[in-house]
Subunit: 301 residues, 2 copies
C-alpha cells in the first residue's frame, strides 16, 4: 500500500475527473490513470465505475473515500502532537526530590513550569539521596534534587540554591537572637535529627556542624519529615537544625536562628537526556533559582 495512491484516489474521488485531479496533483493524466489502476489492482476491486467518458465512485470506493479523510487527518494530528513532544510542550516528567525541597524552591519551580507547559504531566516522587541516583539511571525519575552533587559521568548536575542552615527552637526557649552566639551553646540540648542514616550527605553535613564545635548532638527523636520535626520542636521536645527555607510559612511559635554554615541544593538529571521536557524543566529551574532571594529575610517578630 502506498500513500501516493491513496492521496491520488481521494483527489479523483473529489473531482470525479482524471484530468482535473491530475492537474491538482501536479501529475499528467496518464500517470494518474495508472495510479488508480494499480490501487484497484492492489485492493482487488474497482473503486471507480468509469467508461471512456464519465467517472463515478463504486459503493466500495465511496466508503473508502469517506473513511480515508479522517484517517489522513489522524496522521496530521499525530505528527502535530509528536512535534509538541519534541518541543517539550507535551509529555510526562517525574521529579525525584528530598522532602526538604518542598520547603524551598520546588513549589515555585512547579508553579512556573506548569504555567509554561500546562500539558506536561508532572509527577513528584519523594526519594532520599541514596535512591535518587538509581531512580535516575533506571528512568524511574527524569530529574531530581540533591543536597550533594554525585560524580557520575552519566548524571549531570547544577547548583540551584545555596542557603544557610538555621537552628530551630521554640520561641520561649532561653536562646534567642540576642543570646545566641554559636551551636557550641547547644551541647546539652536534646535534638531532633533526620533518620536518613549516616551515609547520606545531608546527614553528614548536618553532623559536621556539631562536630565543628566538638560534640555530637543528643538525639531525642528522629524523623525524615520536616513538618514532623518542626512540630516536635514547637512542642518543646527538642531543637533542630534545618535549611532556612523551612522558615517560610511555619508557625509563629518557632524561631529560626541563622547559622554560618550553608547547604546546597543541586539539580540532577541524566547527561544528554534527549527528552525536551527535561531541558525545559532545567531552564525553568534556572530561572527560578536566579530570582531566588539570596539574602534571608529578617524574622518578622
Amino acid at each position: 500500500m502506498e500513500f501516493r495512491l491513496l492521496r491520488s484516489f481521494r483527489q479523483v474521488a473529489q473531482d470525479l475527473n482524471y484530468s482535473r485531479a491530475a492537474e491538482k496533483l501536479f501529475l499528467a493524466q496518464p500517470a494518474l490513470s495508472r495510479q488508480i489502476q494499480s490501487l484497484e489492482a492492489e485492493l482487488g476491486m474497482r473503486l471507480f465505475d468509469r467508461d471512456k467518458r464519465t467517472v463515478r465512485l463504486t459503493a466500495a470506493g465511496a466508503y473508502l473515500n469517506e473513511q480515508l479523510g479522517p484517517w489522513f487527518d489522524t496522521l496530521g494530528h499525530l505528527t502535530e502532537q509528536t512535534k509538541r513532544i519534541h518541543q517539550g510542550d507535551l509529555g510526562e516528567l517525574c521529579i525525584g526530590h528530598p522532602g526538604s525541597a518542598l520547603y524551598s524552591i520546588l513549589p515555585d519551580v512547579l508553579a512556573d513550569f506548569s504555567r509554561a507547559y500546562p500539558d506536561v504531566i508532572t509527577s513528584l516522587r519523594e526519594v532520599n539521596e541514596l535512591e535518587l541516583r538509581e531512580a535516575l539511571l533506571q528512568q524511574k525519575v527524569d530529574v531530581g534534587f540533591l543536597r550533594d552533587a554525585p560524580i557520575d559521568p552519566r548524571l549531570s548536575t547544577r547548583l540551584v540554591l545555596e542557603e544557610p542552615f538555621a537552628l530551630v527552637l521554640p520561641r520561649n526557649h532561653w536562646l534567642n537572637p540576642t543570646t545566641f552566639d554559636s551551636l557550641a551553646q547547644c551541647r546539652d540540648e536534646p535534638f531532633i535529627l533526620p533518620a536518613l542514616g549516616k551515609s547520606v550527605t545531608y546527614t553528614q553535613q548536618l553532623l559536621a556542624l556539631f562536630t565543628a564545635h566538638g560534640y555530637t548532638p543528643k538525639a531525642r527523636y528522629e524523623s525524615n519529615y520536616g513538618a514532623t520535626i518542626l512540630r516536635l520542636v514547637e512542642k518543646g521536645l527538642g531543637l533542630a537544625v534545618l535549611p532556612i527555607s523551612y522558615q517560610q510559612g511555619t508557625s509563629l511559635n518557632l524561631r529560626f536562628l541563622i547559622l554560618p554554615d550553608t547547604t546546597r541544593l543541586h539539580l540532577v538529571w541524566r547527561t544528554n537526556d534527549p527528552n525536551p521536557v527535561v531541558t525545559n524543566f532545567l531552564n525553568v529551574c534556572q530561572g527560578v533559582a536566579n530570582d531566588w532571594p539570596v539574602t534571608i529575610p529578617e524574622l518578622s517578630a
Copy 2:
C-alpha cells in the same frame, strides 16, 4: 510523507537495531539508515537517540511509535471493510415495493437476505408503480418490485412471481367454491377497489378482469392498502379482487376464490448497477422465487 518511511520507522523502533530491522524489511542497512534520516528530516526532529553503537527512541519517537500502531491497524480495518462492501457483505439497500408485495414473496426475500447478509442495512419504502421508476433513477431506492415491467434501457427487469388473482368475499357470502363459476356472477356486487388511479398497470389489469365479462365493477370503497381492503370485505362492505398471496395469514372469515387470470410481480433495478449488494439481492430473490409454490394451496376449509 511516505508509507515506506513509517513502516521502516516502526521496525527500527521495535528492534532498536538498524541491521536486524533492515533484514526484516528486506533492505540493506544503509538504505534503512537513510530512510530514517529522511523521515527525521521531514518531521524536523530526531526520532532515535543514537550514537555509532546504540539506538534508543526519543520521547517524540516513542510517542510516534505508539500512535502509529493503531493508525496502521485502522488502515487494515478500512481495507477489510471496503472489501466486504465490494463483496456485498456490508452496505445499505433501499427496496421500493407496492404494498401488495408484503403479502407475497417480499417477507421471505427479506428473511433470506438478512440471514445471508446480516450487515447490510435494508430499508423498505412503499412506493406505487408510478413513483418507483423515478425513485430508482434518482437513486432513492436500489431495487423495486413492480406489477408491470417498464421498458427503459436504464432499468432491468426480472419476473419473480406469477400468481392468480382471487375473488375475496366473506365466508357467509352466497358465492362459494361450489356455486362460483366466474366473475360474471358478480355484476351486481359492490366492490372495494384500489385507489391507484387508472394509469397504473395494476389497476388496468384488475379492471380488465371485469371488462372481459362485459362490465365495470361498482366501486363502493377505494383503498390502496390490502389490509384495509380485506377488513372491509370481512365486514361485508363489498367484494375485492386481490393477488392470491393475500390469503396467507388472513382471517378465517374470508374466502378466496381463485380466478383464471394471473398477475405478475417483477423485480426492477438499475441496469449495470455496480453495487454488489444489489446483485446479491437479485440472487436471493431468484432463489426465493424458484422455491415459491407455483400451485396455489387449496382452501383450508
